[in-house]
Symmetry: C2
Subunit: 256 residues, 2 copies
């Protein structure tokens, strides 16, 4: 049973694309997976084809339920959407932006998501959490709830710049709140082997993270950005595409 | 005198790249420009070659100075960095993440940046503000302070999904706080004309925004992502590159 947060405060580096395809890929291999959409943009939710207007309950409801009455609380069965036999989703909508002020005043404000996930984790082999592009209280809740952090990393200058802050935040959460927290994997995304900058940044990332860096790189591949428009992960919709193949190799590496 | 916020809560759509190259391009045309880095990632600051460890004062100091003693406050001369004769910068560092809690308790919490910019605006022809990838209090401060919003738009499904929320936020700021606020321009970024998805999304954006959409599109161009590593805008460093040329055509359109 592993809980991974897909975290990087730099915007647009492939967090959602990674969370959705990793979750769907693990599920396709027979693992029981819960994907948690913790980004108010709700991209993971629409990436799995869930129509926002049909959603009754979201992660916001989970936060509200667990803040006031922690003991004996459970995540409502109407909050977990079954995508297929081995993949469930806790969706997000824009309302989730309302979680920040609600969390900021809670006792143990960083631990609400951990408490909620504790109540369902024995039903799953994996819990994958998609984070928003920030290091605010939502992301800290994710870091406090998970065992490992999966850092999608675009090989660009601005993305490299944000790494030290991400490490600082992970360190302080590990020291004060979640001693088991570690970097599980760093995954290079939108990788263009012909591009000098890509190679320079990837060398720096490997020097910084060593063997945490996945041997699989995800190439830039248009199928990965087309799939969300059809409401299905690329690993299901375009299994023969370069992007989907790379994500399935990553799934194999993660399961090894 | 125009104040533009470069805003889009979707991550990685080219906000910073646009803010930096627009500001530098306008300055190269002789306009007196102030670039305000309002993103705690501080990418616009490093994109202009400013070493974070050398910075004494940032936008956070401006917020702190203007929250408590609004009347007669001025932005300290040590807070504004002169990049060249026609381009100034108010930098950001990670400390700016501390602005959110500080602002949330202030009276008129959305108007602090507007008050600050009011005190310097007559020195400039343009004020360009780079926003973080969120619709929190920092971005609301930007929307409250500016005349126009420049929306960089990546032609991808997830980026399209966020537009309606951005419009809602702009509407409520216009109604309640800043009646002059309007969409000044929508700029298509990382445009790949061969890509079907790009064309589909660009048609939807044009249908939604009409003539607000710039006639100039910014192509995907590696020089734009290489320039930040040298601490200089692409329009200065690689003026003959496709990306820089497109941004200079956009500058001409804006000045027309
Ligand atoms: N390997 C890839 N090849 C091509 N396009 C990709 C790839 N990975 C992601 N994309 C596209 O790039 C954009 C950014 O990816 P994504 O939205 O997954 O990033 P994110 O880190 O979740 O962004 P945010 O910071 O806004 O949450 C999306 O439009 C996505 O479809
Ligand atoms: N037209 C382009 N062609 C190629 N690369 C680009 C282009 N525009 C931006 N980039 C690169 O894409 C990445 C994302 O751009 P940028 O950081 O400007 O977006 P942003 O919206 O400011 O991101 P954030 O949401 O994190 O603030 C950066 O690494 C940048 O160098
Ligand atoms: Mg995302
Ligand atoms: Mg930016």
């Amino acid at each position: 049973m592993a809980i991974w947060g897909v975290v990087n405060q730099k915007g647009g580096v492939g967090k959602t694309t990674t969370a959705v395809n990793l979750a769907a890929g693990l599920a396709a291999k027979g693992q029981k997976v819960l994907l948690v959409d913790a980004d108010p943009q709700g991209n993971a939710t629409s990436g799995l084809g869930i129509e926002k207007s049909h959603i009754k309950k979201t992660l916001l409801d989970v936060f509200e339920d667990f803040i006031d009455a922690p003991d004996g609380s459970v995540i409502g069965s109407d909050t977990i959407i079954s995508i297929n036999e081995t993949l469930d989703l806790i969706p997000a909508t824009l309302d989730l932006a309302g979680a920040e002020p609600v969390l900021l005043n809670a006792v143990g404000k960083e631990l609400v998501l951990r408490d909620a996930i504790d109540t369902v984790q024995d039903r799953y082999d994996w819990v994958i959490i998609d984070a928003p592009p920030s290091l605010g209280i939502l992301t800290v809740n994710i870091l406090a709830a998970c065992h490992g952090v999966l850092v999608p990393m675009q090989c660009e200058f601005y993305a490299l710049e944000g790494l030290s802050q991400l490490m600082k935040t992970i360190d302080v959460v590990r020291r004060r709140i979640n001693p088991r927290l570690e970097i599980a994997k760093v995954l290079l995304t939108m990788y263009d082997a012909r591009n000098k900058l890509t190679q320079q940044v990837s060398e720096e990332v490997t020097a910084f993270f060593g063997d945490k860096v996945s041997k699989v790189v995800i190439p830039r591949n248009v199928r990965l950005s087309e799939a969300p428009g059809f409401g299905s992960p690329a690993v299901s919709l375009f299994p023969d595409s370069k992007g989907a193949e790379a994500y399935m190799r990553f799934v194999d590496e993660v399961l090894a």
